[in-house]
Structures are given as structure tokens and as C-alpha cells.
Symmetry: C2
Subunit: 363 residues, 2 copies
């Protein structure tokens, strides 16, 4: 088991990473100073895979634990689902000494984290992410929230987990498309912060695709280290943390334009990062070679859904509703080189559209 | 104008108190480093009194300001109303550099504060409280939230305002019952923290009832000082801040038992403080004289609605759903003397019921 520490004043926490960790979780938790009354939040599919064993293990370790099942999918990442959790917390007698445990992917973690952030003005929560995206990204950093209409993550809080527990073995049960979607976020870390890691990812792609356990553990650890370092330095996204949004302004625009249908979050980010690479070549001096290498690496991860039928104007229009905007300006993360970012808010819509047109024909 | 500073690491803010301050607010705000895009949240009645002038003043001072009207009353302190605010923020093009201004009583401030806490994971908000309760209590300290079903403030966040602006002249338009309800919270500050202030309040009751401007200003300032001191030392209610809940465990139980109908929050707290005084005499050694003085002072503030038809068992049962509970124990604030509190979690239900029975016959 490896431990990555996230240092935040008064709210530091550990990320534990290890194959088979899920089976040890009840015992691990018992050895920590933590709530004895737990509410395990997951969706039916994940609960079917891991929930029963986990509930029994926790009960055997002396915890009182109730399950809260929420529907799966981005379309259920709403205040309605959060209210359902509040209702079950109230009827289960939750108080401020209770804790939530989020078992599942990013959607489950974001929803459960927001419920924890806002129930009784904040109770603790623990993340047990079971997808690539959740393990390398959404479970770390304390961003919680839900969508409002078509505006993604428009409602939310910063609320840090008290523990993150990652078992790479849970990835073995992931559908291929979901696994692949997560890899785009993995490559993002290399692009924004670590050219050496980016090289290693490209060299290891075959073993990664085979979900080789030691390789996945190393991959997750490096991603968590970068995310932990960036979020510890800038918890509330005033500056440094924004680099994590490479590809996200475009990506959110696409997700919004297709109403979150037919394109996964990771796939949208993949398109977004390729658009950002093109824009970077024009605007920050990213070399042609680096641009092509970034685009090629992303394409080699696997096939992407066709998006050429989505009008570019609709994507650019949706980008203007992005919550990273400040003073009515669209903020995009660009690359000055592989591993080096540049944040810009001076890109006119026509250049955003031009960059998007470069990638929307790709598959 | 008097200024009370609330010191919190990284989130300190000023409370400005002065007669006629509302008229100066736009100019005051212009001189501070603050958002230029504002959303003024109030209810129709308050907006009718002050909203138009304020909107014009803000526009004249160079702010872009939109109004968001929400329905009045505790029954509308719900996620539905918060969602209505989100909707208007989105359609008004709000971004993270926008700010909310909450103009009104405690309900408006709590709802608008929670919307600010959770929109885009937190945007700034300014409190302009216009009722006694809001001026001496709810606008200071960063507690925001809404009710969930019958569970009061069950959903919420700690989110500090960036400025609180109090004009005692707004109290002149307050209905008598609402004004009086606020005074119970004022007397609470004396009871929990400042025996000299308690004496002064009793001696000044006639001028207070007449809403004499200099007296009200002094009263508000002292209450804000106490609240600021307590919340600065303990932002998240782990310990000291709980003393502010004198009368509130009983009071919330009553409000819940009558489904928030027929009894104002302040009146419920009045009954709760009298019950706490009786319980204190039995449990903490509060002298008979101090107990009687506390009860008598509260009764002299004005008539209270009859509650003898509300079964004691229902109030005690509702107290068990209070969010101040920890590890399934009901927490109550008692008085060891006037100005000195003692927090207890070892009071059996039968004693809570007995104390309640002592006061429920009073009018």
C-alpha cells in the first residue's frame, strides 16, 4: 500500500493506494479515529459488485452502517438525488458524528461529497473511487457538486474528504469505454505537469490497456501526487489549480452542446485537449512537433465518438456559460510545451471555433 | 458609523453599523474592492420598502445589479427557493466574480447565503439585515442554509459574508411581533456572555421598545461584538460557538412540533431559554434568584403565544432530531449563572420534559 498525503491547513488527509485494499478497508478504518456511524452511498451496479462484502466487513469491524443507493449516470447528478440522500440521512438518524462513504465513480463521489458538505453544514466523508476518472481525479481535491440544468457542476462546494481509499483491482470490472475515458484524464497530468510521466504513459500504453496491476498502481499514484500537490497549493482554484482544467473549457462546452449524451466526460476532455493543443500552437508557441505528439497520443488511446454533426457555434456558445469565466471572459488552459501550461483569457471566439474545427473531424 | 471586525483566517470581514447607513451603502461599496456585478436578493415586502432606492443607488455608483425576489417566510426556506436563485444567477450570466447581496431578514440571509456558498462552489455575498434577529444574530457568523422537511437548517454550509451592513432605522418599519421576537435573541447574549449587558437591557427596556435609535445602535453593536468574538474563536461550532444555542434545542423542538406555525423563531427561543433556566436550577446550581430573574426578564419583553396545547412529548421527541446532537445524545446549553454557560449532553428526556412543563403554561 502506498500513501499520498494531501496537506491542507486543518484538513489534511491521506490517499491510500493498493491492490486488494478494498478488502482491508474496514480494518483500516477501524484503526483510524473516525465516525462509527456510516452511510455507504453507491449505485446499484457498484453495490452489486462490492457493496455487500463491504457492508458485512464494516459491520464485523464494529461500525453501524446503512446503505444509500442512488441512480447512476450524469443525468442523475442533480439536487433531486442529493435530496434523496438527505432524506435517508434524516430517517437513518444521522448526526454530525456520522460519516458518508462514497463507493463508486465520479458521479457518486461528487454527489455524496456535496451531500456531506451540506448536511448539517458539513459532515465527514470518505472516498472509495472505483473508476479511473474517480481514482486519478475526482476523488482527490475536495470538489463536490451537481449539475443545474445543462450547466455542469454549477452547484457545489469545496469540501475535503477525510480519507481516500483506492484499490486498482476495481478497475478490472470497468467497461472498456469507461476505462478508456479515464485514461484521457491520466494523460492530462503528463501534459500539464510532467513530461517524463507523459513519456512513460506513451511507452506503457499496452500494459495500461491490459490494466496490469503494478502499472496501474504506479499510474494512479503519480496522478494523485500531481493532483494533491496542485490542490494543496491552491485549494479554491484561484490560480494554479486551474491548470487541471486543460481541455475542460472545450470539453464542458461539448458536453453541454450534446446535452451529456453520446460522449463521456473523458472523451469530451480528449477532444478539448486536442483543441487546446492546436490553439496553443497558434497562441503560446507550442511547437508543431509537441502539438502533433499531444494529439497523436490522445488518438492512440482509442477511438472517439464522432462529433462532426455538432455545430461548432453551439460548443463555443456553451463555453461562455462555463463557470471558470471571470469578468465575462472565457478562460482556457493552453500548453507552452509538454508539461508546461499557460492560462489565457484573451482568446476571441473565432479562434476557439477555429481550434475546435481542427479536431471535430477526427474520430 | 461603528465597525465590528470579525477575524477569521483568510476570511475576515467588517460589520458596519449606523443609522442611515442603507442610503450610503452604494458609495461605501464602491470604495471597497468588491464585485461589480451584483444580484440583490430580497422578498417583495422588503424590496418594496428599500429595494428600488438601493438598486438605483447601486446603478448610479457604477454597479451592474439585477434583482432576485424570493417568497417570504420560513416555509419557503427550502432548496426549491435556492434553485430559483441558481436559475436567475445562470440566466443573469453570473460568474465567480459576481456577488449576492441579501437584503432582508434571517430567512432571506440564510437562503441567499446558502445560494452564494454553493453556486459555482462559492461566490461572495454581502448581508444587509433589516430585522432584529438578522441584525444581531443570523447575518453574522457565516451560518447559511435551508430547512429539509420539518428539520430546521438541516441543509447548509458555513460560508462567511464579505461584508455586513446594518442600519437600525430599518427596524422602524418592523411589525411589533417581529421586533419583539428579535429581542429574545438580544437578551440571550446577556444571559450567555455578559451579565452587565443583561442588566443594561433590563434597565433600558422602555427605550428599546420605543426603538430609540442610539439605544438600538448600542444594543446591536454589543450583540455583534459577542457573536463576532464567539464565532471568530470557533467558526464551525465545535465548542464555544455552541453557547449561542441557549434555548435553541428546546426552541427548535417547539418549532418542529408546531410545524413552524403560530410561533415565531424568537418566541420559541424565549420558551426554550425559560426551560433552560429551570433545568439549570436543577442541574448546574443556577440560583433560584437568577433563574427567576432570567424568566421574569424574558416575560417582560412581551406576551408569548399560548403553547399549552402542544404535547410536551412531541417537543421532546423533536429535540432528538436536532442537528446539535452528537453520538445520539441531546445537547443543551444551560446557565451556571447569568453570563456563564454550561453545555450538557447528559440530561435524560424526563428532565427535558419536566423543564418544558414548567414553562408551557406561561403566556
Amino acid at each position: 500500500m502506498k500513501t499520498v498525503q494531501v496537506s491542507l491547513p486543518g484538513r489534511s488527509y491521506d490517499i491510500l493506494i493498493g491492490s486488494g485494499l478494498l478488502a482491508d478497508f474496514p480494518k483500516l478504518l477501524r484503526d483510524r479515529k473516525t465516525a462509527r456511524r456510516l452511510f455507504l452511498v453507491s449505485n446499484p451496479a457498484v453495490h452489486e459488485l462490492y457493496g455487500g462484502t463491504l457492508m458485512r466487513g464494516l459491520a464485523d469491524s464494529g461500525f453501524r452502517v446503512s446503505e444509500i443507493l442512488i441512480p447512476d449516470g450524469e443525468s442523475h447528478k442533480t439536487l433531486r438525488t442529493v435530496e434523496q440522500i438527505y432524506g435517508q440521512l434524516v430517517s437513518g438518524g444521522a448526526d454530525r458524528s456520522s460519516a458518508l462513504v462514497a463507493l463508486g465513480g465520479g458521479v457518486t463521489g461528487d454527489i455524496a461529497g456535496f451531500a456531506a458538505a451540506t448536511f448539517m453544514r458539513g459532515i465527514p466523508y470518505i472516498q472509495i473511487p472505483t473508476t479511473v476518472v474517480a481514482q486519478v481525479d475526482s476523488s482527490v481535491g475536495g470538489k463536490t457538486g451537481v449539475n443545474h440544468g445543462l450547466a455542469k457542476n454549477m452547484v457545489g462546494s469545496f469540501w475535503q474528504p477525510s480519507l481516500v481509499c483506492i484499490d486498482p483491482e476495481t478497475l478490472l470490472s470497468l467497461p472498456q469505454r469507461e476505462f478508456q475515458s479515464g485514461l484521457y484524464e491520466v494523460f492530462k497530468y503528463g501534459l500539464i505537469r510532467d513530461a517524463g510521466f507523459f513519456d512513460w504513459l506513451n511507452a506503457s500504453l499496452e500494459e495500461i490497456q491490459a490494466r496490469n496491476a503494478p502499472v496501474m498502481q504506479r499510474l494512479i499514484r503519480r496522478c494523485c501526487q500531481i493532483k494533491a500537490e496542485v490542490t494543496a497549493r491552491d485549494e479554491r482554484e484561484s490560480d494554479l489549480r486551474r491548470i487541471l482544467n486543460l481541455g475542460h473549457t472545450f470539453g464542458h462546452g461539448l458536453e453541454s452542446a450534446v446535452r451529456f449524451e453520446g460522449v463521456t466526460h473523458g472523451e469530451a476532455i480528449a477532444y478539448g485537449m486536442m483543441a487546446a493543443a492546436h490553439l496553443s500552437h497558434w497562441r503560446t508557441g507550442l511547437s508543431r512537433e509537441s502539438r502533433d505528439r499531444a494529439v497523436q497520443s490522445i488518438r492512440e488511446i482509442g477511438p472517439l465518438p464522432a462529433i462532426d454533426a455538432v455545430p461548432t457555434s453551439r460548443v463555443v456558445e456553451a463555453m461562455k456559460r462555463d463557470k471558470k469565466r471571470r469578468n465575462q471572459r472565457t478562460v482556457v488552459v493552453l500548453l507552452a510545451a509538454i508539461g508546461i501550461t499557460e492560462i489565457r483569457d484573451d482568446i476571441p471566439d473565432r479562434d476557439l471555433a477555429r481550434a475546435w474545427d481542427q479536431v471535430k473531424q477526427l474520430k
